[in-house]
Each structure stands twice: as C-alpha cells, then as structure tokens.
C-alpha cells in the first residue's frame, strides 16, 4: 500500500504535464487543421500546394521521427527549442495534419444545395462558409476529430524520449527506484484511460449539442 501512497502523487503531477501537452497541442492542431482544410479546398493553387505538402509530410512520417527532427535536428540550423515546446510543436503539427483531413472531408460533405442556397441569397464566399458550411461541417467532423484527439493523448507518451517528465517518463523513473513495473505501469495505464475517457465523453456531448436540429 505504501507503494501506491508514494507513487501516486508524483504520477498525478506528471499527469498534469500530460494533460497540458495534450490540451495545448489540441488547440494549436485545431486552428492549424482548420486553416489547412480551408487552404486545401480553396481555389488558390499556392495555398493548396503548401497545405498538401504539409499534410503529406506529417501523415507520412512517424511522430517519433518528427520529435527527433525538431528536438535534436533543428539545433543544427540554430533553432533551439526546449523539450516541452518541441513536444508541443511535434504533436500539434502531427495532429493538425490529421485534423485537416477530417475537416476537409466534412466541409466537402455538406450538400451542394447548401452552397447554392447561400449564394442565391447573395452571400459572399466568406459569409457562406462562416454562416452555412462550417457550422454544418463541425458536427460531421466531431467523430473523426475525437479519434485524432484520443491518439494525440496517447502520443504525448512519446515525448518522454526527449526528457519531458510526463506520465510515462515519471512511471519509468519510479520503477527505477521501486522495481515494481507491473503495478506502476498498470497505474499509468489506468490514468491514461481516465483522461481519454473524460475527453471522449466531452466530445460526445459536443456532438449531441451540435446535432440538436436533427432530433425529431
């Protein structure tokens, strides 16, 4: 029992770091993914190309490699980032690429008739997107967005390799002292489960709220 009492406080503190990493990256990825999606469906070729290259690179390479490039590689060209910003940058860029794909699909899935109804009233492209297309695509995007966020929370554990003391790193540190890998890793797993379930419920609620117009 003393093992639990001793290890739980530092594990929970480290969980806070995991949550900070996840939440900050989620917010940045959200903005990044959103604008990348808009760029990808826009008619401006340069924007489209930049966005496609970005998505292709970050979906096409392992997150761990991205973390290494940012933390160990960039200093060589005089860009030095602390471990935590490096981790957040890698996680945001990675999740942003995935989110942009969900958003793009959601934006494209809004019925053609909605575009026509909006422009027939005399709306500009911006008014149509802001008032009609984007609000409808959010509901469609939430389930896949939910998936990306679950993966993002799990992926925060990869940041442990660049010395960020988040949940997994702390677990390993405690195990080095106590030699109790089974118990400690199980506790860590349980904490991940609680955090992820919390976010899943939150997004489910959001989906329900944005779907209220569909209820008979």
């Amino acid at each position: 029992m003393s093992l639990l009492a001793e290890s739980l406080p530092p594990l929970l503190t480290a969980t806070l770091m995991t949550i900070v990493l996840a939440v900050v990256s989620m917010l940045i990825a959200l903005v990044l993914g959103f604008f990348t999606a808009l760029a990808r469906i826009s008619k401006i070729k340069v924007l489209k190309a930049i966005a496609s290259v970005y998505v292709s690179i970050f979906r096409g390479t392992p997150l761990l490699v991205q973390i290494f490039v940012i933390y160990y590689g960039l200093p060589q060209i005089d860009i030095q980032l602390e471990p935590i910003p490096s981790g957040i940058l890698a996680l945001s860029l990675n999740a942003g690429a995935y989110l942009s794909e969900s958003f793009r699909a959601a934006l494209l899935s809004v019925d053609r008739g909605q575009h026509e109804a909006a422009v027939s009233l005399g709306m500009t492209y911006g008014q149509m997107m802001r008032r009609i297309i984007i609000p409808q695509s959010i509901r469609i995007a939430i389930p896949t967005m939910s998936n990306t966020y679950i993966i993002l929370i799990k992926d925060t554990s990869l940041v442990s390799v660049i010395t960020v003391t988040e949940l997994l790193q702390m677990s390993s540190l405690i195990i080095a002292k106590t030699f109790e890998p089974l118990t400690i890793y199980l506790i860590a797993a349980a904490i991940y489960w609680v955090v992820i379930t919390f976010f899943t419920v939150l997004l489910d609620r959001m989906e329900k709220r944005t779907s209220k117009h569909l209820v008979q």
Binding site: A117, L121, Q136
Partner: protein, 246 residues
Amino acid sequence: MEVIKLENISKRFGTNEVLQKINLTVNKSEVVVIMGPSGSGKSTLLRCMTFLAEPNSGVVRIGQTEVKAGEKMKGERKRLIRDIRQNTGFVFQQFNLFPHKTAIENVMEGPLIIRKMPKEKARAFAYSLLEKVGLSERCDHYPSQLSGGQQQRVAIARALSMEPMVMLYDEPTSALDPELVREVLQVMKNLAKEGMTMVVVTHEMGFAREVADRVLFMADGVIVEEGTSHEIFNSPKEERTKRFLQ
C-alpha cells in the same frame, strides 16, 4: 418594365448543347411558366439567370444589372452577380433550407447577414414573411421537424426575405407528396396576385392555366413555342408541343 432580359444565352455541358441562343424578356408582374420534357434545358435556363450555372455566351440583365456570360470571375463581376442574386429569389426543387437553423432563422439569414438589418428588425420581418406563407406558428421548428410542403413554404419566405424583383422557381413541387403540392402552389398564387414577377419551371398544368400570363414550351435547348396558357394547352401549333401535351 423589363425585369429580366436574356440575350442569346447558350450553355454547353461538354459537347451537349443544353441551351441554344435563348432570348427571353419578362416584364414586371408577369408570371411566366416554363414547361417541357426533362432534359429540355428549362432548369438550366433558370439557373443561368442567376449564374448558378455559368452560360457559355450571352447577356443576362436583371433590373438594371447586366452581366456578360463566359468572362472571368473577378471582383467587379462577382459583385454584379451578387447584385443579381440579391434581386432574385430562387426556390429549389429540394428546398435546400439550412438544416442547422430554425424556420425563422432561415428567413432572417439574408436580412441579417447580407442586408445588415438589426436582429430584432430582421426577426420581425422574417416573422411577417412566415405569416404570409402561413407558417408563423412553426417559426421555431427546425427543417427536419417540418413536412416537405412546409419546408418549401419556408424556402419561399427565405427567398422573399431579400425583397427580390423577381422570384424563380425550379420545379418547386416535384419533390413533394401529391397532398402537399396544393399548399405550395397556393402560396405562389397569392404572390402572383400581389403582383410578384415570377418565372416558374413546373409540370403543374393546373397552375399554369390559372396563373400564367405566358407559357413557354421548351425542348432540346430552344423555346419551341410560347403563348398564353390557353393557346399552348388548347391549340398548340408545334408538333413537339402537341406530342408533349398528349
């Protein structure tokens, strides 16, 4: 006074000539019904009037705004096309109501966002339009909670919300169950009586007989014949028209 003037409007989809040099003038308070077999180009003609479909050549004039077909979508031209669209109410076969907005929000959207009306004023105006189509007590319902006929009436109110010079209807009752057709046609008849200028693509002959000042019969991308509903239905001159009416 001319509200719509189309000159030599042509439209191709690939090598298929859907519209061949159509000329058409619609005067104020006139109700024009366009009939014809499917694929005759009647919906495309309607969509070309507001550039929902870009004609390949010709000139469209709505009110005082004139736009040439087939030119690049640049700033000034975009603005003119928006101007045309704001002056024409378009009613779709599939209603195309905004599903995430209630009936009254659908009708308020244009006044609020495009005409920049204050919210309370826009709401009162939208309410009066819903009253006009007989749906004021449904104003807080979402489209999914309304019948097809009710949805189409809301869509008509939404089209009226920009106070257009002319209303265009693209087969407004074709997606409706037969028992719901009448309520929509009734709303359209009332508007015609008030002097609204209207162009209606429809298969409803009863409506054409009762309301139309002029009936156009289209086939293969041209206007084959035009006249009063009496002339077209009772003594058609062209072979194509006769065959269609049989």
